[in-house]
Amino acid sequence: MKVWQKVYLAVLILVLFTVNLGLFFASGFLYRQNLSQEESQAETECYFLSRNLARDFERMQENRQFRQEVMEKLLSSYKKSYKKKGVRVDLIRKGSYQTGIFREDGDTVAAFASVLPAPFEDYTLIYEKKLKGFDSLWKNIQQAFFCVGIGISLILGIFLYLLLQKLLLPLSLLNSRVMLIAQGRGKYGGEMPGRVRADEIGELWENVDRMGKTIRSQMELLETENEKKQQLLDNMAHELRTPLTSIYGYAEYLTRAKAGEEERYQALSYIMKESKRLSGMGETMLSMRLFQREEPLAERVDMEQVFAHVKQILAGKMKEKQIILKEDYKVSEAWGREELFVNVFRNLLENALRASETQGEIFIGSGETDGYGLFTVEDKGVGMTQEELSHIMEPFYRADKSRSRKEGGAGLGLSVAKLIVEKFGGKISFSSEKGKGTKVFVFLQLPDKSVKRGT
């Protein structure tokens, strides 16, 4: 049974019961009122009749005609005249008689007895009136009340039905909408037909609407996350496939072909190189995974020491390309971990080296912006297009794939750098122009601003 049906039935029964009970009591009151009126009227009539009779008897005594047959005659004339009015009159001598209202043959009868005044106190007048008028009136009243009851019930029933329908219509609409959400389709929300009501149903509607929107945005978020993951997987599959193709291919070559000493050596060194690349990739991804999970301890880091370390690592490559390195440090401290920052700036400097021509210039600088330490690495090399820039943070992406792969990169460097910098509350951004060069901005928290985070 639906809610509206339950409410409808309950309210209808309750109201009808109350109304009919009211009608019942009202009719009972009316009945008693009328009856007592009739009763007193009959009683008065009876009293006056007894006085009249007594006066007649007195007069008969004065005329000395007070005899049994005359008395009978008089009484029968009274009887006759009252019978027309539906009243039975009788005279009894020294007897007891039941008075009051009682029913006789479907009629209401009011019976009264009045003792005649002295000296005729031996006689008692009996007065029995059939209340015909009262009965028919009562019948009419009963019919009227019945009709009124039916009418009220009908009107109430229809009105209640319409009211409930109107009140609960949004609820059934809401129900179908929630069903759509549950089935994972539909728009998850939308406006209520007409204006939003200020009652609980209106609130419920708004809440469902809000819920639908939240679900939709969550779904969208999940979808984009999923797409990103899918992209990562695709990239990874490709990245795995390339070294595996080489390894398998050279192994097959070695087993099948009649290879000379030179070719054998070359094939084996390719196998070794590609295996190393694979394992390096695996290690980087594993450390990324671990790093994402745990909270690294942070401390005051001497950035000049970091850059000195990075320069030392890359000294050979810089010498090979005859790079001119220019440095200008205005801020020399940051908040984080030294060895991790070495990793970040080594990556950035390596990228700059790769992009640079022989005898190119690279600038490393630092300063303070908006309460952050800003560290920049800038090259005057090949640069990147906007499209390439938008992808460089994605794992396994390379702007210039042949170049970086030849040097053994897997396209994970910037992803790792980003992860590290963001872990310590910083951020990385790039500006680049094709053919002009690239500038990397690394924002790091300064030690004094981060003391509260403490180690």
Partner: protein, 216 residues
């Protein structure tokens, strides 16, 4: 024999393709960059086969199809989606091969193209033995050697995959057909017959744990 251009940015794979093709005696030119390939094709526009990656630095393989002219192109790429394959084949390429690839498959596809374009030389001379694949005849110093059809079939497989070791199972499959239910010892018997008839004791080598290889 055939003149083949390899456009592949991955140095190790480029080298691998070259080494495999060189076993069949082909001449290879290696290029590692899309832009470079475009410039190179302007200078030397004719090749028997071009083996090309799709994801190339500079100009990608699909764009390079405009520069390859009538040369038969085989795409060799890690992109294995059906839409990538369709895009590759509708761009005018003759064939589409995905990485990781099997050496035998690459060679078979290259040979197929060479056969279709009649670029493959049908005769091969090994020492004093002259094999004509088209006429299905073998001569040793102008004296014709009688071979059964099955023996010739086996010889043809060995010649087409010369310098590459083939397992007994592979030989059964290639020379007898995939439905043949025979024993791998059938292969040994036929190899021995070929060695005797053609005096190929040193040409058809037994490769340890692998099978046989016809060395040129």
């Amino acid at each position: 024999m055939a003149d083949i251009l390899i456009v592949e940015d991955e140095e190790s794979i480029n080298q691998l393709i070259k080494q495999n093709l060189m076993l069949s005696g082909h001449h290879c030119t290696q290029i590692f960059d899309g832009g470079e390939a475009r410039r190179h094709l302007l200078k030397k526009p004719s090749y028997d086969v071009i083996i090309m990656d799709i994801m190339l630095p500079g100009v990608n393989g699909l764009e390079l199809m405009r520069d390859t002219g009538d040369n038969p192109v085989i795409f060799l790429t890690a992109k294995d989606g059906i839409s990538d394959k369709i895009a590759g084949l509708t761009s005018g390429a003759w064939d589409y091969l995905t990485k990781p690839f099997e050496m035998l498959e690459l060679l078979a596809r290259v040979n197929l193209i060479l056969q279709k374009t009649k670029k493959e030389v049908d005769t091969l001379k090994i020492g004093k033995t002259k094999i004509n694949l088209c006429a299905r005849s073998v001569f040793i110093s102008d004296r014709e050697v009688e071979l059964t059809p099955q023996e010739f079939e086996l010889l043809e497989v060995l010649v087409r995959n010369r310098n590459i070791a083939l397992s007994r199972e592979q030989l059964l499959e290639l020379a007898w057909g995939i439905d043949y239910m025979g024993d791998t010892r059938t292969v040994d018997v036929h190899i021995n017959k070929l060695r005797k008839k053609l005096d190929f004791e040193d040409v058809i080598k037994t490769v340890y744990k692998m099978g046989y290889r016809l060395e040129v």
